[in-house]
């Protein structure tokens, strides 16, 4: 009997992780996605003054800090029974759109574009690049970074700092957005729409030409999908989670406070992350889940791309690499949606309401780029007595491992290992855009 362990460190994702595939007598016996770092915020925030949580929890992750800040504030608002005014909710939505633009641009053009170009990084594409937009950017790297920066500028405008934002506060937001600043942001977003379209069309064409390889098309079984965005016109400051069955029916709907009756978390001894299932069944979150559960994006360009996806793949669709194309649809939708909001008056003074801190238990839900994110706190004497972070990446881990097993079985035959496996592992994991700093609480 021979036993082989193949270890693949994974780069171009957030945080430290590796894939370990075990092969015994030429047969694949397991594929594990291992988070190899440990953050552990749920342990060390115990005893923290509750109102410090919106300062501490963004530091869970520099990529997802906006989602954590808003979820944290919402959990406290649930405990203190305070409702933010409508203007504050619009500005928070803008903030979450900024994060989505930043994240999807990063995942699409910086993390996964190199796989399509077969280069180690986007910075290695400077010479070969044939992308340029007159007067704006002259190669793939610069164009990609330009799009990404528009997202971070939007977070700065609505959140005060583009990493670990500070403007969302219990009861609302600290301030509105001045008209002239909104106009500058509007102009920037309008400028990058053609850049995004050129990059995304190029990406689409490169992706579909990858046919017949694993981690590409038609390679994994249908599964359950989870999102907290609504079916029409996605928003990301959300209140209800929905689950779609593999055949396309919404079979479950629940509030954040009921998550334990629907989602089951399991720890294991080979990863610091653990895994969540939909009552024991494998599920998927993130872009593909949202697009599968959305009837209309509600904006012109995004809807035209979504129609393209539906024509080519049908909906719900299950190929793993569709995650990446769905990110492109969401990126464009988020820009279009942010432009709409920025045209509204946002410079009013009714930005927050007062509150009286009290003890109790509360939940904060947002749709983070990777899926539904819940913060759950219990507060006694003004201090946190327990905190729980229900992390979207963890929803996807069983699905990642199943997809890795499919890839491993495809490329390991009769004891022979096709080294294409390494690239397939990268494509599969990056399609899910896992975030390890978030996943290891």
């Amino acid at each position: 009997m021979t036993m082989t362990r193949l270890t693949f460190p994974v780069s171009r994702i957030e945080g430290h992780a590796q894939v370990v595939i075990e092969v015994e007598n030429g047969q694949v016996i397991s594929s594990h996605f291992q988070a190899t770092e440990m953050r552990g915020f749920k342990h060390f925030v115990e005893g923290t003054p509750a109102e410090q949580m919106p300062v501490i929890t963004p530091r869970i992750c520099g990529v997802c800090s906006t989602a954590h800040q808003v979820a944290s504030v919402k959990a406290l608002e649930d405990i203190f029974e305070v409702t933010p005014p409508p203007l504050a909710r619009r500005i928070r939505e803008l903030l979450l759109l900024g994060q989505l633009i930043q994240n999807q641009a990063t995942s699409l053009f910086i993390f996964t574009m190199p796989d399509r170009l077969d280069v180690p990084s986007i910075f290695h594409s400077l010479e070969s690049s044939n992308i340029s937009v007159q007067g704006i950017c002259d190669n793939i790297a610069r164009c990609s970074l330009r799009v990404r920066k528009a997202g971070t500028d939007l977070i700065t405008l609505a959140g005060g700092q583009f990493i670990h934002p500070i403007k969302t506060m219990v009861g609302g937001v600290t301030s509105g957005i001045q008209r002239e600043k909104a106009e500058i942001m509007l102009a920037e977003l309008e400028t990058i729409i053609p850049v995004v379209r050129i990059l995304f069309n190029h990406y689409w064409q490169l992706s579909t030409s990858l046919k017949e390889r694993i981690g590409t098309w038609g390679d994994d079984e249908p599964t359950y999908y989870i999102t907290s965005t609504p079916a029409i016109n996605p928003v990301y400051d959300t209140d209800t989670i929905r689950v779609l069955s593999p055949d396309g029916q919404v079979i479950d709907t629940f509030a954040a406070s009921q998550f334990r009756d629907h989602l089951v978390f399991n720890d294991n001894d080979y990863s610091y992350a653990g895994q969540t299932s939909f009552n024991g069944k494998i599920m998927r979150a993130n872009s593909l889940a949202r697009i599968n559960m959305t009837q209309s994006m509600g904006t012109e360009i995004a809807d035209s791309y979504m129609a393209r996806i539906e024509r080519a793949f049908g909906l719900p669709a299950h190929p793993i690499l569709l995650y990446d194309l769905c990110r492109g649809v969401e990126l464009i939708n988020a820009i279009e949606r942010a432009i709409e909001i920025l045209k509204e008056p946002l410079d009013g003074t009714d930005t927050h309401v007062g509150y009286t801190p009290k003890d109790g238990e509360g939940y904060g839900l947002v749709e983070a780029p990777r899926g539904p994110l819940i913060h759950h706190y219990a507060v006694e004497g003004g201090k946190i007595t327990s905190a729980e972070f229900v992390i979207p990446t963890v929803h996807n881990i069983l699905a990642i491992e199943r997809a890795l097993t499919v890839a491993a079985k495809r490329y390991i035959k009769d004891g022979q290992i096709n080294m294409e496996l390494e690239k397939a592992v990268g494509r599969v994991v990056r399609a899910f855009d896992p975030c390890i700093a978030c996943a290891t609480q």
Partner: protein, 286 residues
């Protein structure tokens, strides 16, 4: 490309990747440097020989220590980037003895990198030639490191950047929670009852927290006036500011300042276990 560019690498230890994300917003180095290692954006196995090695995150696991020890042999210069690498950052909270026991007993996994007894700043293990402070450091500071502008200057403290008016006759009796109330946009946050530590926190962030009304939490560390002294000097300076500008009872001031979960401690003291804070010469800090 004919010209040979200097090379740099970014080694991420245990942290949130916020420093790396900030670096991605500073892109003017693209034609002046070659970025050869940064797992967040590049597929590469090991740190190759480089001119500058940027290290972010704290030393939390056996793997962090291993990677750090290997990487420094390939670099002419090592720069500590961000609060976690410099002084521990928010994960300091996990260094408290009770929490660490919990980590080591419940969170350990047998087939994964082991947790070290404490999460440590990198200069506990290696020599650092420069420090880039902030949680995260601003893109401008990354640029100042990579492509220094000789005319670059910055104010000394966040307080000086903030510009809120300090009033002699407005003294609160108690501190508010960080998020409570509606602070007046022009008056110092301490006058209004917020425990702000901008008076001695290193400048360079353009007071982005305090200007919209959030008290400074000291993420950039002490200003030049305190950086070469031990932590007590910094503490007592803040205490004096609170005592002179408020009527808050001294016990409450003590509680706000000394609680490990409150903001100041949170960002700066990997020496919660009473180990002396290492002295960092101010010339080394950007």
């Amino acid at each position: 490309m004919t010209q040979k560019l200097p090379k740099f690498a970014v080694l991420q230890l245990s942290g949130c990747a916020g420093c790396e994300v900030s670096l991605l917003n500073a892109t003017d180095w693209l034609h002046q440097y070659e970025l050869v290692y940064m797992p967040l954006v590049i597929s590469a196995d090991n740190v190759p020989d480089v001119d500058i090695l940027l290290v972010s995150g704290g030393v939390q696991t056996s793997e962090d220590l291993y990677k750090l020890s290997h990487a420094i042999h390939h670099a002419n210069e090592v720069v500590a980037v961000g609060t976690c690498a410099i002084s521990g950052g928010v994960t300091n909270l996990g260094n408290r003895d009770d929490v660490r026991d919990l980590f080591l007993s419940q969170a350990e996994r047998h087939h994964l990198p082991r947790m070290l007894p404490k999460c440590r700043p990198i200069d506990d293990f290696i020599t650092v030639s420069r420090y880039l402070p902030g949680c995260p450091p601003t893109p401008q500071l990354f640029m100042q490191l990579l492509t220094p502008d000789p005319d670059y200057t910055q104010k000394k403290t966040v307080c000086q950047e903030c510009g809120r008016k300090k009033l002699r006759d407005m003294k609160p009796n108690h501190f508010f929670g960080a998020q409570q109330g509606s602070p007046d946009p022009d008056i110092c946050l301490i006058n209004q009852g917020y425990p702000c530590v901008g008076s001695s926190t290193r400048a360079g962030c353009d007071a982005l927290c305090t200007k919209p009304g959030h008290p400074c939490v000291g993420c950039r560390g002490p200003s030049d006036a305190f950086i070469e002294k031990d932590a007590e000097h910094w503490f007592s300076s803040i205490q004096k500011v609170f005592e002179s500008m408020t009527n808050v009872p001294s016990q409450e001031i003590q509680e706000v300042m000394r609680s490990p979960q409150l903001s100041l401690f949170l960002f700066q003291f990997a020496d919660y276990d009473q180990k002396a804070r290492p002295i960092r010469p101010k010339e080394k800090i950007l």
